[in-house]
Symmetry: C2
Subunit: 355 residues, 2 copies
């Protein structure tokens, strides 16, 4: 089937680009100190994660239990959850994963949460494994000082939870377009992580896992002496925003196919709105020359530019999502293409796992 025969709006995934990106990252990391545990929030699809593991990834990183459950069902891992598991319902879901023999490490950053994990372990007879989340400058979750990290590591050991190391995600640096500024911010973040690593070692609690690094910072983080693994995920699809930040190494793999509904004098309208295409990183980029997306409403994209003169209702056009991760979260499948041919359909299983 030709890709233009897919009903719209539809996510197209270019398999050649995906395979090239996976190979490129594996080749870049060969011989470097850091391994790759790619983030599952980008593909949300076991078919992609399986290819990443086959290319040498040491496991998969997730943002939430729903993603971990999808991976566990697919038999993929080991899993690192780069986020806290808080609240009794989620603690029970984590224990259920452990009771299935799933190798999952979760992040902690408060004594309250360590107590919750310890209580859950006692109730279930399971032994959770954890790393400590360090705030390396993003100011979201994470410990503020090495002293706090050491205390939490000790609390983990005292609670009988397996202490595996630390993580620090420099999310405030990865999307900086200026290469020099991105490098500076990333190195400052890695220096903070290093302070925590050194404090832990001095306290006799050496960090086995030191997990950092997004797609925008992977080149710098991969050779940092204390880093053991990278969480980078976006490299596999490279959405519109990341193509601007990091234009050379990886290829864009994700587009949204849309149908022109209306052509008027000064604009045209296609069936791609905020319910199939997010715009928190700005309007989607166009693939087809001369047409740009001026505005998204819930179910419509208003197109402007010289290219609209050659459009007709019923035409199919492809646009590049500015933010892939939130866009694919709206869809239930990828239409997998090689060139113009649809060769497969992959369910985006974790898009429905919002918890």
């Amino acid at each position: 089937m030709h890709k233009h025969d897919v009903d719209t709006p539809a996510l197209l995934l270019d398999l050649d680009a995906v395979e090239t990106n996976i190979r490129t990252m594996a080749e870049f990391l060969a011989g470097k100190p850091a391994s790759l545990r790619p983030h599952f929030k980008t593909p949300k699809c076991p078919e992609v994660a399986r290819r990443q593991l086959e290319a040498g990834a040491i496991g998969i990183t997730v943002a939430k239990l729903g993603e971990a459950e999808v991976l566990a069902d697919a038999g993929l891992g080991p899993i690192l959850m780069a986020n806290e598991v808080v609240g009794p319902q989620k603690i029970d879901r984590l224990m259920a994963l452990l009771s299935r023999g799933v190798d999952i490490t979760v992040a902690v950053e408060s004594a309250f949460n360590i107590q919750e994990l310890a209580d859950g372990a006692k109730r279930s007879g399971q032994r959770p494994a954890a790393i400590i989340e360090v705030d390396s400058g993003m100011h979201r979750c994470g410990t503020a000082e090495p002293r706090e990290t050491v205390e939490l590591a000790r609390a983990l050991v005292d609670a009988g939870i397996e202490y595996r190391g630390i993580m620090g995600y420099e999310g405030h640096a990865v999307l900086i377009a200026d290469e020099e500024e991105r490098r500076e911010k990333t190195e400052a973040a890695l220096a903070i992580v290093q302070e925590h690593v050194e404090a832990l070692a001095e306290a006799g609690l050496p960090a086995g896992i030191v997990s950092v690094g997004g797609t925008g910072s992977h080149e710098i983080a991969a050779t940092h002496p204390h880093v053991t693994e990278l969480q980078a995920g976006s490299y596999v699809f490279m959405d519109g925003r990341y193509q601007e930040v990091l234009p050379r190494r990886f290829q864009g793999a994700l587009t949204l196919l849309t149908t022109v509904l209306s052509v008027r004098d000064r604009y045209a309208v296609a069936d791609a709105g905020m319910k199939s295409l997010t715009n928190e990183f700005g309007p989607p980029f166009s693939v087809d020359g001369g047409v740009k997306v001026a505005r998204l409403s819930e179910e419509h994209a208003t197109l402007t530019g010289e290219g609209i003169a050659s459009l007709r209702p019923g035409d199919r056009i492809e646009v590049v999502p500015s933010h892939g991760d939130t866009t694919l979260n709206l869809h239930d499948r990828y239409h997998v293409v090689r060139g113009d041919e649809v060769v497969d359909e992959w369910p985006i299983l974790a898009a429905r796992k919002f918890k």
Copy 2:
């Protein structure tokens, strides 16, 4: 079950507020010339649409075939699709609905699309019904001049498609906060619709259906002499943005329950990010005094304000989505509450129907 025992992030729907809003709208419209055919894009849930029909709605308005298919499966209608059905895959889906005996009217605004419908009718042996979409000032889809509307009405009749009238949605007016300006823009839009209605009548093609009106314009449109029905949908839940525009008549029914993951000196973090809560209308509003949402990342809300001093990890808080329609589109169910008690769970069936 207490609402705070639901796993998070979770959409809570206040059933008392929903019932009050449905009753309030029915009472307001009693004796007025216009009927209500509420838009399904807001609830995306047959349980809500059924209550609206029981309260006197003459049918349900939808934005796309996926919503119509959900309603058809639930046996609810008659359906008005306030949007065009373009492309061979969708024409076939429309014919499949007609072959099931579903009463559905679709919008058209081009000769190309009328030909598509006629061809589909010929292939399937079905007889589609259509209204003409008029551009009443929003500049999205829709005819630009009465002459064009008359031509398309004639083309429908000539093609053997049942011609049922026109629609014009004043989406550029409904969210204007200033009441006087909203009234002016709405009246200007209704005057444009009226020109088209009169031209059709003069041409011997009287419009049976004249469908207009969102929640922000329903009071003005309900008494306009040419309007036969309103499409208003948001009134039933009243999201954060609409509560600012139209604070008196309807009650907010939709909140997102979220769990505090981290509490730091100057901010706290909860598990509600852009994958469970949209922010194209700005950050979500807070329910709990003194806490505001400063930033959303994909899976986190960063909270600031005086109220964070009393927060602890594990606390549950509720926030009001600024844009309900796109937020509920991310979820698969409503946790239906009366007061603090969860009394039911309703699937958001149409959230997965993105085409």
